[in-house]
Symmetry: C2
Subunit: 689 residues, 2 copies
């Protein structure tokens, strides 16, 4: 028997992989081959580029690479050209980007031929919702990497600087060139001298990697910080206060990018407090920053509790102002009209505003998609948004084209992603959440990349065995078939799975409590704004479910350009993925599948749970190909992922069944929790691990 056991154990524990914390992200160290680098210039950025090549060269031993900053008409902005001899670019940063691409291609393929790559968006910006006390709003990976509380909160340590450099390098490697250092729900203190000094230190760490720093500002800062009587954007003293502050900032941070502003939104102050429009507020700040080349990213995330359809409001508020904004104002618009839900149709402001720069805001941090507990790859969701056709200038007027300058003239093009980064060893909490950071950067650079390609790259970079530790064979067929392909498939399915077990068929915002993690279709504590409660969104009663946004309802459909408006309005043509977003329908409404709406809902919830069960299997099969630490951390999170998917299904089916009064189809697995228990766990969600 002993022989048999040994044989089995060998098979099972074969080829142990060294534990990894995940801190190296997609930039894991590989033993490099010697390479000769010829560089025509000399700067911090070029030194980085040369160093990266020498530390990471996986190509032919002794190859010679030329890095040339040399204008070329085919190269735009910080784009680059890869050639047989090396990298050419207009700018030093372009050289660095080209080097990262060259090294990436050595690990991910396909082989480099002569090719040019230019960025889709000029400004590719992370938004950190980091508070000055170190907490991170909607952050699930530990505290802020920029700010902390305590006595030494403002001291810049060597450890701080080392971490910021790693952060800058990771961002540069995927083309991110800007970062907003603090929460959009901004403290006025960020503009005080001591916090600006820390911002300066951060900016200095990021600068060689081409990352510009930005700050979120509170619109009432002149009053709150400056002690002025008003922050009215037309008040000369207020304007002067901002001018003085801008001067101070640019003295400290000469390449400062500009301000991000959340105004007149969810309790934040703004120009409307003084009887001024969003345009007047944004333009005042834009004028202040203009002399320095700074920009204003002005968020369109506004809604009041009075309106009967929150989804209509940003459009209603901002469209009349189209054309009134300065050319260095960009309106920052969330991908959907409500709020980063698992699935939303695109915001009609994309393409709707034609005379104003508009930038998409995506959420990398998984506020509504399972925090760092669930494996949800977001690239498919962003791809869905960016490739949605607005029809504003005829077919092909995608959201991407309507925001990247190719459809409308706009001085600046930009895209923002709300960061999922914290001081956790692996940066993002969930190892697979790193893929979302990666995907945002890659899509910001090239919004035409497919989710498949992004996942493929990321898996190869993040999990490919180091050549010294593992036989090279693993990188080839065996590794591809048994690891790469199934893991990629899992990632590509994961967002649809989340939609299935959370809110399929156009359901949205049925989360419990304010944590936006678990289910709470019932959640409506007394005194809460209706538009902050799920029943406002799902509208379920015995007659049916869904939000009527048709022409006979809130008429949100009319904010879309034809043929979309009619398509969404008409039950026959409305895509079923958006069905309950636009329509209130009886439980027995007949779906395209021939099933009733109620049955279809049940099958979607079931499918989501079964998908996660399958993800567990995929990952367990991947064990031989992953180091023990990352394997078991992901395995453990997938187990929780499954349990919570089950809870989502049970909660939603049992809650809605009270209205549908229909049985759950018997080929669907029964709920395994009682509704009354599920309704009690709201606040335990975040701690129940």
């Amino acid at each position: 028997m002993r022989t048999l056991i040994s044989a089995f154990m060998l098979l099972f524990v074969a080829l142990p992989v060294k534990a990894e914390t995940g801190h190296d992200l997609w930039l894991r160290k590989h033993s490099a081959n010697p390479v000769k680098v010829v560089c025509s210039g000399n700067s911090a950025t070029l030194s980085i580029a040369m160093n990266e090549l020498q530390q990471g060269w996986q190509g032919e031993t002794g190859a010679s690479i030329v890095l040339a900053v040399k204008p070329d008409k085919s190269i735009k902005g910080d784009g680059y050209k890869l050639t047989a001899s090396g990298v050419q670019a207009n700018t030093e940063l372009g050289i660095l980007y080209g080097v990262y691409e060259l090294l990436r291609r050595q690990q991910t393929g396909p082989p480099v031929k002569e090719e040019v790559s230019n960025p889709s968006y000029e400004r590719r910006v992370l938004n950190h919702w980091d508070n000055l006390d170190g907490s991170v709003e909607r952050g699930y990976a530990g505290h802020s990497i920029f700010w902390r509380s305590g006595e030494d909160s403002l001291a810049v340590t060597e450890k701080d600087k080392a971490l910021w450099l790693e952060y800058a390098r990771a961002n540069a490697s995927i083309g991110i060139n800007g970062t907003v250092l603090n929460n959009v729900n901004a403290s006025p203190k960020i503009l005080s001298g001591e916090y600006l000094m820390r911002a300066k230190a951060i900016a200095e760490a990021l600068r060689p990697y081409g990352i510009r720093s930005y700050l979120s500002v509170k619109f009432s800062s002149p009053s709150l910080l400056g002690g002025l009587k008003t922050s009215d954007p037309l008040d000369p003293q207020a304007i002067q206060w901002w001018e003085t502050k801008a001067k101070e900032i640019y003295r400290l941070i000469p390449d400062f990018g500009g301000f991000l502003v959340k105004a007149n939104s969810e309790g934040q102050p703004g120009p409307q407090d003084y009887g001024r429009t969003h345009a007047q507020g944004a333009n005042m700040l834009a004028d202040v920053l203009k002399p320095y080349g700074g920009i204003v990213m002005w968020r369109a995330f506004v809604y009041s509790s009075e309106d009967k359809d929150r989804a209509r409001q940003a459009y209603a508020e901002f469209m009349p102002l189209d054309g009134q904004f300065r050319d260095n104002v960009i309106i920052q618009v969330k991908n959907g009209p409500v709020d980063f839900q698992p699935r939303e149709p695109f915001s009609p402001l994309f393409g709707g505003m034609k005379k104003t720069s508009v930038m998409p805001e995506l959420q990398i941090t998984q506020e509504y998609l399972g925090h760092s507990f669930q494996l949800v790859f977001l690239a498919p969701m962003w791809e869905e948004t960016l490739q949605s056709d607005t029809y504003q200038e005829g077919p092909g007027s995608t959201v991407a084209r309507s925001t990247n300058g190719s459809l409308f003239p706009q001085k600046y093009s930009a895209i923002a992603g709300v960061a999922n980064i914290g001081i956790d060893a692996n940066w993002c909490g969930h190892h697979f959440a790193q893929a979302n950071w990666y995907a945002f950067g890659r899509l910001a650079w090239n919004s035409g990349l497919t989710s498949d390609r992004i996942a493929d790259e990321w898996i190869r970079l993040t999990f490919s065995p180091n050549s010294k530790e593992r036989p090279d064979a693993l990188k080839t067929r065996d590794w591809q078939e048994k690891f790469l392909i199934p893991v990629k498939e899992m990632m590509l399915q994961s967002r649809e799975a989340a939609v299935n077990y959370m809110m399929p068929l156009g359901l949205h915002h049925i989360f419990a409590g304010t944590h936006h993690y678990g289910p709470g279709p019932w959640y409506a504590p007394k005194g809460t704004r209706p538009d902050w409660t799920p029943p406002y969104y799902h509208q379920a009663d015995t007659s049916g479910i869904g939000f009527d946004r048709t022409r006979s309802g809130s008429n949100a459909v009319s904010q879309y350009h034809e043929p979309l408006a009619s398509q969404f309005n008409d039950l026959k043509t409305c895509p079923e993925i958006y069905l309950l977003w636009f329509h209130h329908l009886p439980w027995t409404y007949k779906m395209k599948s021939g099933r009733t709406l109620w049955d279809e809902l049940c099958y979607h919830y079931e499918k989501g749970v079964v998908q996660v069960r399958q993800f567990q299997k995929v990952w367990d099969r991947a064990e031989p190909y992953v180091d023990a630490q990352r394997f078991s951390e992901v395995q453990s999170r997938l187990r929780r992922h499954y349990r919570d998917a089950q809870i989502w299904k049970d909660a939603c089916l049992l809650y809605f069944q009270q209205f549908s009064r229909l049985p759950i189809p018997y080929d669907v697995e029964r709920p395994v929790n009682d509704l009354e228990d599920l309704m009690k766990i709201d606040l335990k969600w975040l701690h129940h691990n």
Copy 2:
């Protein structure tokens, strides 16, 4: 749409059934047809019999029934003969039993022909593990129906008496004729005057229904209660103390049944404390009770922490004493050699002791089978034990025959069941736990009944729609096909399902903590007796799993009569259901299925969980046929049942996998919990609902 909805809702809520608490057990009220009852005698018991007939007659309207106490050679003890004209019996109690059978058959079939029914066991006794403060050891249905704490704890109220009458009637209806009123871990106070007065009141309520009362006594009562210096069974003063006490008891309760004694077991005092044997201790009490016709039920549940195999000890201790016991002593032996596990081979004392009366002790309360949270029908387990062949007097020497007097001469035959009864409205906590009380009574009366027949009867009596509320059609084909058959199948599978998800293939006693509910194969706190910890029983290590009780191990196999000893000893012939009970085997041992032992374990755990998932489906489908209260209470418990089965599977597979170091087969669903979390929830088990 409105029409469609209404149609669906009608279908779904059709034929509402009145809510039931379950308090009526299998004796639910039905509107009775008029019947004429002729009875030759006049007594409390006969009045009950006549009243039951008149209240419950479902036969021909105006029929005439004769109840005749008249000797008949074919009738034994309290047996009865059912004839075309009525019920004949040797005793009044026999008449009552015949009446209950007659009424039962009217509801369950088959039609009565002339037939005689005699009890398999003469004494059919419930053991209540009820403490005098009202708590119930291993009770999961609320506090004691006999005892309570507080100032008025000894006052006998009308409510008490009404409840005791209901209890007596339920027992009589299934043939139970004795009950031990207090815990085998007995307080000496039970023999004090005030508690005896309460026992007297209980006995009076039970008497007309033919239920004799018994008491558990602490062996050291002479010292603890009487203040004597010793309780040595050979000490004249101690003997005299018992004689005086017996006299007192029989003055209060003339038909008092006798004593139940747990001696020198788990810390309880006993004759060995005074250098005497179990026989000397039991015989002393037997002599004291003899003049009154009382008996001593002396438990064989003994084991010391020193012995290397707990399973061997009761046999080792008692076999040498065979023949030394008085004829009014019955050795009460648990069905298996360890302790009421989900599956054990029968105790070798059955049939082993040939010159001593031996009675089986079964556990109705689900200490090791999911408490009142899990639906586990125990009749199949008891049937398995009672029909096991001991081979002691050749083939056919079943456990039943070796204890009911048909194989060995014994003055008394008896069977005990540890009650699952408390003050919960439905008596047993889980509605389906009532079936175990029912099954015990029915098997005690007729140990040849099949589990199928018992379940069939119980379901018909417990869930059959009342004729006035529901169309009679429901009782026929539709009801049978859609309710009776699937629910019965669920019940019949439920014990094997529990074995599967708890401890398949002969595993035993791998429970967490001391509550014996959830899994705890790891449970071994410092300082705990090894034989109270699961690793003592599963013996898992990297080389394998299982307790070696073969001839080269503890040699427990030799306690069985051939051919069993050799059959259990030999891997080729040992039934796989007992495999790890008798053998320690490598993880890669090849099973009859061709699978490895490890894989086979995994598939059994998986199967158990999937079975419970199926039970949920069966029950949900039963909704139209059950009142709303019982439906939803059972539905809720099945949900918990599923969750806890999942936890069992995850805990055992993940724990044992640490030793097997083998992957869980990929067609088995992945664990959804982390082992480290499961190891923390030990003590939360009982409250986590």
